[in-house]
């Protein structure tokens, strides 16, 4: 194998771990004899890493995310209603804001859906049913979106060597500086981030990593809005909710109109236990 052959046919796949065992053997044999191509492979890996580092995983704006979740709620409801009404299982709807591309519908299916939607509207005017979509909470959605984002990758952007250093960094930013200690429940402090929400409010994110799951503590000012209704459990001023498959603990902090939201995939009971132990 010469350099041109290596560069043309092997280099990128080598950096991506996509060579077959035979190809890998040939490539490594060439690299043993060729300093230039070893440099090229390092360069290729550095570029790969550079792209990954700099093409940030831009978070979907909270309002846009909410709009999508609402559309998904409607799609799910129409699905169920159409199914109950005996209409085809595939929903015949388009929910996009500006790109609605209506497809021809069978008259019978249309009537069934109109009937089903009307029936759902009627039911919404009375008491909500178990099958109705869960009520969305924008504060919870912010915390959950951040948890999902940080589970894919988390790098602190404030000093996070210790709980004390992180607490001091938050205090300097005039943000609540209490750092949870979930160590006894198997979650270690991974670090903190100071960011801004879409509307410019400052937010802190503190991640605690366990063996399989993480707990994210999100804090921002919400102006003292009332806490969400119907918590599944309450522990002094900490309210616990099951929300879209996540466990959430919501706390209104006494000063400054801040809220603290813990979000995790662990069970609600485990979260309650972790908070209880940390507060002792």
């Amino acid at each position: 194998m010469n350099c041109i052959e290596y560069i043309e046919n092997f280099l990128s796949a080598h950096a991506d771990g996509e060579l077959s065992p035979g190809e890998l053997r040939d490539a490594e044999q060439h690299l043993r004899q060729c300093l230039g191509c070893r440099g090229r492979l390092d360069d290729e890996r550095a570029l790969k890493s550079l792209v990954r580092q700099h093409i940030e995983m831009r978070a979907m704006p909270a309002a846009m995310r909410q709009q999508l979740l609402d559309a998904l709620d409607r799609a799910a409801s129409e699905d169920e209603s159409a199914s109950d009404a005996g209409a085809p299982a595939q929903p015949a709807h388009r929910l996009l804001k500006r790109r609605a591309a209506w497809v021809p519908l069978a008259v019978a299916a249309m009537l069934a859906i109109v009937f089903a939607v009307a029936r759902r509207f009627e039911s919404n005017q009375s008491a909500p049913t178990e099958a109705s979509a869960p009520v969305r909470n924008p504060d919870f959605d912010i915390a959950i979106a951040a948890l999902d984002r940080f589970q894919r990758g988390f790098a602190p952007n404030v000093p996070s060597d210790s709980a004390a250093a992180l607490s001091a960094a938050y205090a300097r930013a005039k943000m609540p500086d209490f750092i949870w200690n979930f160590g006894a429940s198997g979650f270690k402090l991974a670090g903190g981030r100071l960011e801004k929400l879409d509307d410019g409010r400052k937010a802190t994110y503190t991640l605690y990593r366990g063996a399989q799951n993480s707990i994210l503590c999100t804090r921002f000012r919400n102006g003292g809005a009332a806490p969400p209704a119907n918590p599944a459990k309450t522990l002094s001023n900490h309210r616990f909710y099951r929300y879209r498959g996540y466990s959430v603990c919501y706390t209104r902090l006494p000063d400054g109109g801040f809220v603290c939201i813990l979000a995790s995939r662990i069970s609600l009971d485990r979260m309650v236990q972790a908070v209880k132990i940390a507060l002792k």
Binding site: I4, I7, E8, L11, S12, A13, D16, E18, G36, G39, R40, D42, D43, E44, A46, L47, K48, L50, V51, R52, Q53, H54, I55, E56, M57, R58, A59, M60, P61, M64, R65, Q67, L68, A71, L72, A75, A76, D79, E80, S83, D84, Q90, P91, L95, L96, K97, R98, R99, A101, E130, A131, A145, D148, R149, Q151, R152, R244, G245
Partner: protein, 192 residues
């Protein structure tokens, strides 16, 4: 019909668990394809609704992100491609011939990883270089480098043979490297 409602709720919960953690990744990719945040939001919404509709076709335990990217890219191709405006970079043929010449003429000094380290401080350059790639090269590179999809998954997402994925990735990186070097030199900052 409580049975049907329960089943609908279970399907919805499973979908939320599998698909919704990838919303930001879908949005980041959509932004690189359509550029406008509003269009990217529309594209992601369309993708997610399609995915929900066809969720029965997803095999649990497989790569949900790759499955969603496949739907995203198909949706983009079928309704969001911007035609002439999308040709920000050279045509694919022109691009390919430039890269052929580029990759074979590379000076070993340019392979010094320090040259990339020098570009590290210039975050907007990476986005500019990526945006300058032809759309399908950009999509393939995003999938491999940012979303960590393997070539087989990219092949399925873009409906192209694995060999084509390989060549697109190789050519896209060569072009990225050249663009980053050009941007740095344009500011009077040599990279090596």
């Amino acid at each position: 019909m409580p049975g049907k409602s329960d089943s609908g709720q279970a399907r919805r919960s499973l979908f939320e668990r599998e698909a919704l953690p990838h919303l930001d990744a879908l949005y980041a990719t959509a932004l690189r394809l359509v550029r406008s945040p509003d269009d990217a939001g529309d594209l992601v919404q369309d993708t997610v609704l399609r995915a929900y509709r066809f969720f029965d076709q997803f095999t649990p335990g497989t790569n949900c992100r790759a499955w969603l990217m496949t739907i995203l890219f198909n949706t983009f191709r079928n309704g969001y491609r911007r035609g002439a405006r999308e040709q920000v970079a050279a045509s694919e043929e022109e691009f390919s011939s430039r890269i052929d010449a580029e990759s074979l003429a590379r000076d070993p000094k340019e392979s010094d990883p320090e040259s990339l380290a020098g570009a590290r401080a210039m975050e907007p350059d990476v986005e500019r270089a990526l945006d300058a790639l032809p759309e399908e090269f950009r999509a393939a590179l995003m999938m491999v480098d940012v979303h960590e999809m393997n070539y087989q998954e990219v092949s399925a997402a873009l409906s192209i043979p694995v060999g084509t994925v390989k060549s697109r990735i190789s050519r896209a990186r060569a072009m990225m490297r050249k663009a980053l070097r050009d941007f740095a030199q344009g500011r009077g900052r040599t990279c090596s």
